[in-house]
């Protein structure tokens, strides 16, 4: 069968429009699986309204549990824990425990065991545009990177089973472990930037990250007309570094209206300048990925 193509939408800085754009791509793509890999603050479901068809538990990490009856209060666990996860009262602080197990092996009374904790759930769903895979990390849980990897595995399996040629990944902000997991083995990383000092700074780090993992970068400037000088700076930076710019999207309150109505901008305001530009960006992405273009314009 044909090779499955993958694109991740990322940004470095949060709130630049990753999810808005991913949802629009989902509306435009002919045959794709959409994966929401922002597992600690997922938002894509509010635009795509998935119906869950499969749900799986995610056991991402372990937690130390002290058996009070066996504990001899020697405090060795507290001394050896490098995450300050054992309190003065010799209780486990679940927000600090990283589940390493050092306390369990140093405990002379064998009073400590490690238990698996259910850190979240992964889902396979259907939307009006096709399949969506997503997840929800329990608030405050660790190991979002592992859950991202699970979401991507689900996407891959589904793509193979259903013979779907493309996976569109909505990535989390930042450049740390969940972002690294979300860009692993993808064909293109589309960085959504905004023309602010922070936006430029974070764009550069996102590009460095993609280059570090040998993933071809592509850039899109969102709300470019908020500061045209800075938008120019981004264009110059991309030119100097041989990075293709997929497009410039203007600021438009319709994007927020679409969001409050739970729709993609493509559906809510198909003739807006934003929708036109996004269609153009999508066409370029299809060319780069060498896949067939849009579904019927609706």
């Amino acid at each position: 069968m044909k090779q499955i193509k993958q694109i991740t939408v990322l940004s470095g800085k949060g709130g630049t429009g990753k999810t808005t754009l991913t949802a629009a791509f989902a509306a435009l793509a002919k045959d794709a699986i959409v994966a929401d890999c922002d597992v600690d603050a997922p938002d894509l479901h509010m635009l795509l309204h998935p119906k869950i068809i499969e749900r799986q538990e995610f056991k991402g990490s372990k937690l130390a549990v002290i058996n009070e009856n066996k504990c001899i209060k020697c405090g060795l666990c507290r001394e050896k824990c490098r995450f300050d996860a054992i309190t003065e009262e010799l209780k486990v602080d679940p927000f600090s425990c990283e589940g390493c197990g050092v306390c369990a092996i140093v405990c002379p009374a064998n009073a400590i065991t490690l238990t698996e904790r259910i850190s979240g759930h992964a889902y396979i769903s259907k939307t009006r545009f096709g399949f969506m895979v997503h997840a929800m990390l329990k608030p405050g849980e660790a190991n979002s990177g592992k859950l991202v990897t699970l979401v991507k595995q689900n996407a891959k399996m589904l793509a193979e089973k259903e013979n779907i040629p493309l996976i569109i990944v909505d990535g989390p902000p930042g450049i740390g472990c969940p972002v690294i997991a979300s860009i692993a083995n993808v064909d293109v990383g589309l960085v959504i930037s905004e023309p602010t000092m922070s936006g430029i700074h974070d764009l550069k780090r996102a590009i460095l990250l993609l280059r570090h993992f040998d993933i071809p970068p592509l850039v899109c400037i969102n709300m470019y007309d908020i500061n045209r000088d800075n938008a120019e700076k981004i264009l110059d930076f991309c030119k100097e570094n041989n990075i293709e710019v997929a497009g410039k999207i203007p600021f438009d309150r319709k994007v927020i209206e679409a969001m409050t109505n739970g729709k993609t901008i493509i559906e809510y305001s198909p003739e807006s300048n934003v929708a036109k530009e996004v269609r153009e960006i999508w066409r370029k992405i299809c060319n780069i990925l060498d896949i067939a273009g849009n579904r019927q314009r609706g």
Partner: protein, 279 residues
């Protein structure tokens, strides 16, 4: 008093609020940028950097002469950072959390700890504000050890403001831990509200008192207000969506410097936080 600024959703204006509070208070302020993946606070206050430190984590180093490839270290490691073959031991430094457990379980004493660079820490000053920020090495997955290093500089005699990374998992938790109060910055949109709820749940579990700043007020809808009223969460400040504020931010200028009325509002906000935190 230690006040953290967090949000759940990215790009709601955490850094902008953190910097504007710091600038408005003007003195006895420490601003710690704990968003080590994408630190931005220094871009708004342009500090003079007086010290930089390389930050390292501890990772296992295997003495192959002593190692008999028994595999106990790999079996123990919860993070799959060690892989033992009959011929050699592979250490994946990026996956290591630095717990030190492998050293404890090795029966041959073949493991010691070496240093692995994870990022850089900078300390500087801008108009009486002390700023500390970390920059995670690109490609390095784990932000929390670096956040811990940034927080080691907390000076409790000052008003400490912690700028948190977005989200609601480990880096955010590490930042807000031990705060006296947390300000959650949101925007009145469905995304803003959804991610606010996630952040509120984390802070409630951690028993950290909280209040909300609504940024870009006027866009979106009223559901954030309804939610806060129902949950009895104080709305500390509303910042309207104004092109001028957005433009100043885009140029890297804290808007309260150009719009001095806001300095009073941020001071009032901080005093209210002090009361709510019982400090």
């Amino acid at each position: 008093m230690i006040v953290s600024i967090a949000s759940g959703k990215g790009g709601t204006g955490k850094t902008s609020i953190a910097v504007n509070i710091a600038v408005s208070l003007g003195r006895d302020v420490q601003l710690l940028d704990c968003d080590v993946e994408e630190p931005n606070a220094h871009l708004l206050i342009h500090p003079k950097i007086i010290r930089e430190e390389q930050i390292y984590s501890l990772v296992p180093s295997i003495n192959e002469n002593l190692c008999d490839h028994c595999g106990k270290c790999a079996e123990f490691c919860s993070y799959n950072a060690i892989f033992v073959t009959p011929k050699e031991v592979l250490v994946f430094k990026e996956l290591c959390h630095g717990c030190g457990g492998c050293i404890l379980v090795c029966p041959k004493g073949a493991i010691t700890e070496g240093k692995h660079k994870i990022g850089k820490l900078s300390l500087g000053y801008a108009d009486g504000i002390e700023i500390v920020y970390g920059e995670l090495e690109v490609g390095e997955p784990m932000a929390t050890p670096l956040i811990r290093e940034v927080k080691r500089h907390i000076d409790k005699s000052k008003n400490v403001i912690l700028d948190a990374p977005p989200g609601a998992s480990c880096p955010m938790i590490e930042t807000v831990k031990n705060s006296d109060f947390c300000i959650l910055v949101t925007e009145p949109t469905p995304f803003g509200l959804h991610d606010l709820k996630v952040a509120v749940q984390v802070l409630e579990d951690m028993k950290i008192p909280l209040g909300v700043v609504v940024n870009r007020a006027g866009i979106g809808d009223k559901k954030v207000y309804e939610y806060c009223r129902k949950k009895d969460i104080p709305i500390l400040l509303e910042i309207p969506y104004q092109r001028r504020i957005a433009e100043l931010y885009s140029r890297g200028v804290p808007f309260s410097l150009e719009m001095p009325d806001w300095r009073g509002k941020f001071k009032t906000l901080f005093n209210e936080v002090r009361v709510l935190a019982g400090k």
